[in-house]
């Protein structure tokens, strides 16, 4: 279970508020002089084990900033995050074992040059023995249908394959919750469907899922819950059926 209480996160320095908007430039200069609005501005929520949450919202609404605090990749300015009852700050290793994450651009998440070495990276850090590591790598690659391709170089893969390697790397941590930040960007339809299939299967096996996306097509069915962020706050938190009608007002396109 992930519990977030009154979370606030503010980026300091440049790039803060000015990146977000489509707003005209008229009052842009004044804006940089006053303190920018926090990227996450008072969020409380609880994510149960095994639930399937879709997190939507316009560019710059704070989705990435929020999920990165689930396992201590960013520290909050105020508020707390606990995973399985324990504050993230007291045991960050436990938090990162329980909550695994893929990044918005899968390239940001790779630490090795070949598929097998990258997927093994997490389990090796957990101090598992070699057989267990090999088993986990094989399972994770099978789950994303990349079996037997351990020795291929990641920089020669297509966009869809890259996204699946990133997911395998997170799966190999055997997490309680899998957080996927925009896993579909740039994927063609067959790749999108194959990633979706894996997510559904993992969820059926009991893994909690959080998918961050602008594009809700095919996600309404499997999701238990749709969260929409806006300007750093949770603007909507409802079951999919109830949420759909309210999406367009919040800058999110309703699937059809």
């Amino acid at each position: 279970m992930i519990e977030v209480r009154n979370l606030v996160h503010r980026y300091n320095g440049t790039g803060g508020s000015s990146k977000s908007g489509q707003e005209s430039t008229a009052d842009r200069d004044d804006a940089t002089e006053t303190k920018p609005r926090p990227a996450v501005d008072g969020v409380s929520l609880t994510i149960d084990d095994g639930s399937f949450v879709v997190l939507a919202g316009p560019n710059g609404s704070g989705k990435t900033t929020l999920v990165r605090q689930f396992n201590g990749l960013l520290d909050p300015d105020a508020g707390t995050v606990s995973v399985n009852g324990q504050p993230v700050t007291t045991d960050v290793v436990a938090a990162r074992t329980a909550v695994a994450m893929t990044f918005q651009d899968p390239r940001d998440g790779f630490v090795a040059a070949t598929i097998g070495a990258d997927v093994a990276f997490g389990p090796e850090n957990l101090g598992l023995d070699r057989n267990e590591i090999d088993r986990r790598v094989a399972d994770a690659l099978a789950a994303v249908r990349l079996d037997d391709r351990e020795n291929e170089r990641i920089d020669r893969l297509s966009g869809g394959e890259r996204a699946r390697v990133a997911i395998a790397g997170a799966l190999a941590m055997a997490p309680d919750h899998l957080v996927l930040d925009e896993p579909f960007a740039g994927l063609d339809e067959p790749a999108r469907q194959s990633v979706l299939d894996r997510i559904r299967a993992l969820h059926a096996d009991g893994t909690g899922i959080v998918v961050v996306t602008h594009d809700l097509r095919d996600l309404v069915d499997p999701a238990d819950r749709v969260l929409v962020m806006n300007e750093g706050r949770v603007a909507l938190d409802a079951p999919p059926a109830a949420a759909i009608g309210r999406l367009p007002d919040l800058g999110v396109r309703a699937p059809c």
Partner: protein, 234 residues
């Protein structure tokens, strides 16, 4: 991070070539006249330059912080002698003067960076170095400015990726290797894509140069630069 800040001070409005000339003249003079008398004159001059740019001396010194330990260590080491009396202050005088002149030169160069747009610096290079070498340097410099923040972000994302999968459990050399090779791979990938983008926009050896024009405004600066160079060689 030291960088350009928009403004409308006297120095902001100078031609970048005039500012470069003053910096070069100042550095030459400082190295030629590292005497108490020379440094008093140069201190006054540096104060005028800072004032003309509306920059406080404290802010300028803060930007030179990386050099400060070296500047303090120099005289300290020189004063130390092996054997009694251990400390010989007289030996530290020349290195102390040397450190102080460097501080002045650093302050003047901070003024240049704070008051000059990248675009103007690049234009200056392409005027000062003619032909293809100038074009290479001008575009190359613009690209370094453009991609430094991008590559810094790439490095910090790789570090986040390591942390997310508990890479903190690994040794220093291994982590250094991971960050470095990720940085290189991504820089090469970006360079390849950038090469295509440059060609798409007809990247040429003989483009229209960015506009730069000396004005009457620049005369005092050019005069100062000439005087400094002259003084350095007497």
């Amino acid at each position: 991070m030291l960088s350009y800040e928009p403004g409308d001070s006297f120095v902001h409005r100078l031609d970048p070539r005039a500012k470069l000339a003053v910096q070069v003249g100042f550095a030459l003079a400082a190295f030629a006249h590292t005497t108490p008398r020379g440094l008093v004159i140069l201190t006054a001059l540096a104060g005028c330059v800072l004032a003309a740019a509306r920059l406080s001396p404290i802010a300028a010194l803060a930007e030179a912080r990386y050099a400060l330990p070296f500047l303090l260590a120099g005289p300290a080491i020189a004063a130390f002698t092996l054997g009694p009396p251990w400390i010989a202050l007289s030996q530290a005088v020349a290195p102390a003067l040397a450190s102080y002149r460097v501080l002045l030169v650093l302050a003047v160069s901070v003024v240049y960076v704070r008051t000059t747009r990248v675009r103007d610096s690049r234009a200056a290079i392409q005027r000062l170095v003619p032909g293809r070498p100038g074009r290479f340097l001008g575009v190359g410099v613009a690209l370094v400015f453009r991609f430094l923040p991008v590559l810094l972000a790439d490095l910090s994302r790789t570090r986040a990726a390591m942390r997310a999968r508990l890479g903190s459990e690994r040794g220093l050399i291994e982590r250094m290797g991971i960050v470095t090779s990720a940085g290189i791979q991504r820089a090469f990938g970006r360079a390849d894509r950038l090469g295509v983008a440059l060609r798409a926009r007809c990247f040429a050896w003989n483009p229209t140069l960015p506009a730069l024009r000396f004005t009457r405004h620049d005369l005092p600066a050019l005069g100062l630069a000439a005087a400094l160079v002259g003084w350095a060689f007497v």
